[in-house]
């Protein structure tokens, strides 16, 4: 049965519409089209339509669905944040370890290498005017003697490597 008493039939709702329409188009005859329509007569129709506005309602599950989607999205975002946070932390730690290791290797004292001995022998051969082989023999001999001295007296700290070219010729021998 059709409703003879619409819910919101209060006041003249067409008045604001008429005012606004006149503001937009001026005289009604200058409207968008010459539709033969009585604006005042349409207030009943607008009231009818207004009354039907609350007839449709959202489903019972809509609210729960939205909240669940929001929570799911938040969980996923936290998971990605944890993943990227852990990845960034691990990368930082690895990089820090590599840098510290490199610095440690650069500044830590180390013994003589074969290259050091060969370079020292070359310098000694040039300085003393002897053969390179003989200079190398002397250098190795000096190195073994200093090593033996350190072993005999462990309280003497091991010195970092200093090229013999900075020492006097007598000290080197």
């Amino acid at each position: 049965m059709f409703d003879p008493y619409p819910t919101h039939r209060t006041g003249d709702h067409s008045k604001p519409f008429n005012d606004e329409f006149e503001n937009l188009f001026g005289d009604e005859s200058l409207g968008p089209d010459s539709i033969n329509m009585s604006l005042h007569g349409d207030s009943d129709l607008e009231d009818l339509i207004r009354g039907a506005g609350n007839y449709v309602r959202p489903g019972d599950q809509l609210r729960a669905r939205i909240l669940e989607s929001v929570a799911h999205r938040r969980e996923r975002r936290y998971m990605w944040q944890r993943f990227f946070g852990g990845f960034a932390l691990a990368t930082t730690v690895v990089l820090a370890l590599v840098i510290i290791g490199q610095i440690g290797l650069a500044i830590a004292p180390r013994g003589r290498t074969a290259s050091d001995l060969q370079r020292q022998a070359a310098r000694r051969a040039n300085a003393d005017g002897v053969a390179w082989e003989w200079a190398l023999t002397e250098v190795v001999y000096d190195w073994r003697r200093s090593t033996t001295g350190r072993l005999d007296n462990p309280s003497v700290p091991s010195k970092p490597f200093t090229p013999l070219s900075t020492q006097t010729q007598g000290d080197a021998r």
Partner: protein, 200 residues
């Protein structure tokens, strides 16, 4: 060109949405339930006129509010949060409509979830007639009718939501009302006569 201001109840609702958007921005996603309770009915009603299917409309509203919850600052920062929400719901509805077009029978309202109080049962048939008539309108016209009558928006506000000129909105509204008038004319006359008999 001057436009009349929105009715007080429309402005009050807009203020409530603005307050809810501020709470959402301050409290985070947990405050989304307030916005859902406040706007879901109106958004579903508006989206249903675009998708012509309530299930699709609810999907659109869900997508809209989930996006808002993820970026609450967007809603809080805009000048008119309610118009922004309507615009988002419209865009989501159009996306869904493009993704999964449905064949709907014009007179079929079986997708609608309705409520009717016991004292309004006799009005149910008129409500169904109105919804059926609105569904016969082109979407461009029905969305203007919904925003104008159910959301009590001015043509300037409707133009902002639909991204058209106020004159176009008014024109579409006028065409729509003319069509609805012709479809529901008999109902209006019968209601008027019944109203008269009742008072006599």
């Amino acid at each position: 060109m001057s436009h009349s201001n929105p009715p007080p109840h429309a402005a009050a609702f807009s203020d409530r949405v603005r307050t809810s958007a501020r709470q959402l921005a301050e409290l985070g996603e947990d405050a989304i339930s307030g916005l859902i309770d406040l706007t879901s009915l109106r958004l579903v009603r508006f989206a249903t006129t675009i998708t012509r299917n309530q299930h699709d409309a609810e999907d659109a509203v869900q997508a809209t509010l989930v996006k808002i919850a993820a970026q609450p600052g967007r809603l809080h920062q805009c000048a008119d949060p309610w118009a922004f929400l309507l615009q988002m719901a419209r865009n989501e509805s159009l996306l869904i409509l493009r993704r999964r077009p449905r064949w709907n029978l014009i007179g079929d309202l079986c997708d609608l979830l309705t409520r009717c109080r016991v004292d309004e049962l006799e009005r149910e048939e008129s409500y169904r007639e109105i919804w059926r008539a609105i569904r016969t309108l082109p979407t461009q016209q029905s969305e203007v009718v919904v925003l104008k009558i159910w959301e009590s928006m001015t043509f300037a506000e409707i133009a902002g939501v639909l991204e058209i000129s106020p004159s176009t909105a008014a024109s579409r509204y006028r065409y729509a009302i003319a069509k609805l008038n012709s479809q529901l004319r008999g109902k209006i006359e019968s209601s008027a006569s019944e109203d008269l008999q009742h008072h006599v």
